[in-house]
Amino acid sequence: MKKFILWLITGGVVLSYPVFIKVLNSERFGDDSVIPTPTQISDQTTPTPTTFNNTPVVSGSTATPTPSPAPAANRGKYKDGVYTGSAADAFYGNIQVRATITSGRISKVDFLQYPNDRGHSIEINQYAMPILQQEAISAQSASVDIVSGATDTSQAFIQSLSSALSQAS
């Protein structure tokens, strides 16, 4: 079995996705297996969050940070305080986070904006609303060939968190 893995770097913001090609035999390669270390990012605008609730917010310009290599001294060392990241586009809406730094480390992350805040709702009156089955999720122990998980929204989360942390550096 031949496997081919390609990492695409398309985002100027994407912090640590290298561009390389690997040809592997029977080996799984986890995606984004590390939380990118925020580098020095110049945050051009930091919009002031005007609402903290579900009201759709017209955010200021979404910052497109310019990535540059992180000086070694910056890694992992943040100034204590509370820092608000710029709003990042998660396609269906914005994500904006606020990071709290305690003793030089992230102690808390709050969501100030989150997708699904559409402000208008889909008209589903015309659809029958059946009762659908539910279950509590639980970890499955069986091995799998492939994993399906979300990436789009989490990318915006990383962007917003990084812009918050760049202020704490």
Binding site: M1, G11, D110, I122, A139, A142, G149
Partner: protein, 241 residues
């Protein structure tokens, strides 16, 4: 975008097919990336191109985007805040094209996985349908559902609670969903419906229930899953999933 792409082909494989697919994805990235200043999308957003100058790939994607917008009552829209961003649809479209390239080269058992959106054809090396785990939105090292995928596709839209950080869902409604996975015949349709269904919040699963040929598995932020009535076709018959 900015995501890993994994392709696995069962059996003896000529490396040339990987190169072909790799080149295709690079071309897609160069054309559709909103982060690349000289991409066709960026040129369109700067008003530098008129419609008759659009590439055939761009026209194809635009047509698909318009179709999706109608089917999802506007929940899926590649124009938002005045900016054209087709990345929500290019991924599924691109995977489907890549699958076509591999099939044209004569392979029947393989999958293409782009950022967790997967089209899996035939069987894995053990001769059985590919086993796909739906990632636990609260713990990336766990799978909470296992589905069997053969000549069909799965896409998951959502977000993650990562690492050891304490996430305070300030502003989130109690009912908010964190993940929705869609299963269906082809990744292009599955991907765009996963995008739209996630945007609909809790109603997304009902949208999928009424869509013929698509099944869904939705997880809310309390860890409760809601699924469509036909999902059994994707589950192991011994009930172990």
């Amino acid at each position: 975008m900015g995501m890993p792409i994994t392709i696995e082909i069962v059996g003896e494989v000529n490396k040339g097919v990987f190169v072909k697919v790799f080149n295709f994805f690079k071309e897609v990235d160069a054309r559709f990336s909103t982060y690349k200043k000289d991409s066709e999308v960026s040129k369109i957003n700067r008003g530098e191109l008129v419609k008759r100058e659009f590439s055939s790939q761009m026209l194809e994607v635009l047509k698909l985007a318009e179709k999706t917008k109608k089917e999802t009552d506007g929940y899926f829209d590649v124009f938002h805040k005045g900016i054209f961003d087709p990345s929500g649809i290019v991924k599924g479209w691109g995977i489907q094209k890549a699958v076509g390239i591999i099939r044209k080269n004569g392979y029947k058992n393989f999958y293409v996985d782009a950022g967790g959106d997967i089209q899996a054809m035939g069987n894995s090396s053990n001769g059985r349908p590919w086993k796909v785990g739906i990632r636990n939105p609260f713990n990336r090292f766990e799978n909470v559902k296992i589905v069997k995928v053969s000549n069909c596709a799965i896409a998951t839209s959502g977000t993650y609670i990562r690492g050891n950080h304490i996430y305070n869902p300030h502003g989130l409604g109690y009912d908010e969903i964190v993940s929705i996975s869609v299963l269906g015949k082809n990744i292009m349709d599955v991907d765009r419906f996963a995008t739209a269904a996630f945007a609909m919040g809790r109603k997304g699963i009902y949208f999928l229930e009424q869509m013929e040929g698509y099944e869904g598995y939705m997880i809310d932020r309390s860890g409760k899953a809601t699924f469509t009535s036909g999902i059994n076709i994707y589950l192991e018959s011994d009930g172990n999933n």
